[in-house]
Amino acid sequence: MSKTLSIVLASGTIDKIAAAGVITSGAVANGIDVNIFVTFWALMKFRKNDNTVNKLSYDGSEISDLVLSKMNEKKIQSGIEMIRNAKEVGNVHVYGCALMADVMGISKDDLDDMVEDIIGVGEFVSMTESSYTTLFI
């Protein structure tokens, strides 16, 4: 049985979503399955029609403009695209958080097609029981 890594992705800034994308890519490259639970700000960025501004975390606010312009110039893949690519390489499952979906009136159809289902935290945590690590991003 292959190993599983679980990620709770709550942040909606592009650096955090990119971190989830990069780690997911590294995991599937190593034959590790990944479960991602998308909640709070991240769920907003996983909406199909999301048109909110891409921001970086406050940590780097002094150099945000520079980093954003470099990322655009070098056409760096977004974290969401990295997760989409990782799905083609390995076993990656993406779930939306039922609580946040209810709060914002978001249904599965409103979310990116890679989101398999909207599930409650109980179900997600039960999935993490067999994970060797769970990350909160």
Partner: protein, 78 residues
């Protein structure tokens, strides 16, 4: 290098983890015995790709420093 690749992936201009992911996708589609070559301008790929090739039990044919990019060549052996 006198081996002619069956598949060439031009991942130049793509950044980590792009070239490695492209290589793995090509590997999954390839048949045993095929030679796969990936071009990359991303320095990380030079270490990443050979590490993946050896970990997954494939054969690393070589890492070549071309003019301004790297070419990593592998053979799918299983």
């Amino acid at each position: 290098m006198d081996v002619k690749p069956d598949r060439v992936i031009d991942a130049r201009g793509s950044y980590c983890p792009g070239p490695l992911m492209e290589l793995i996708k090509a590997y999954k589609q390839a048949k045993v015995g095929e030679i796969i070559s990936v071009y990359s301008t991303d320095a990380g790929t030079k270490k990443d790709a050979p590490a993946w090739i050896s970990k997954s039990g494939q054969e690393l044919v070589g890492v070549f420093d071309r003019n301004g990019y790297y070419e990593i060549v592998m053979k799918k052996v299983k």
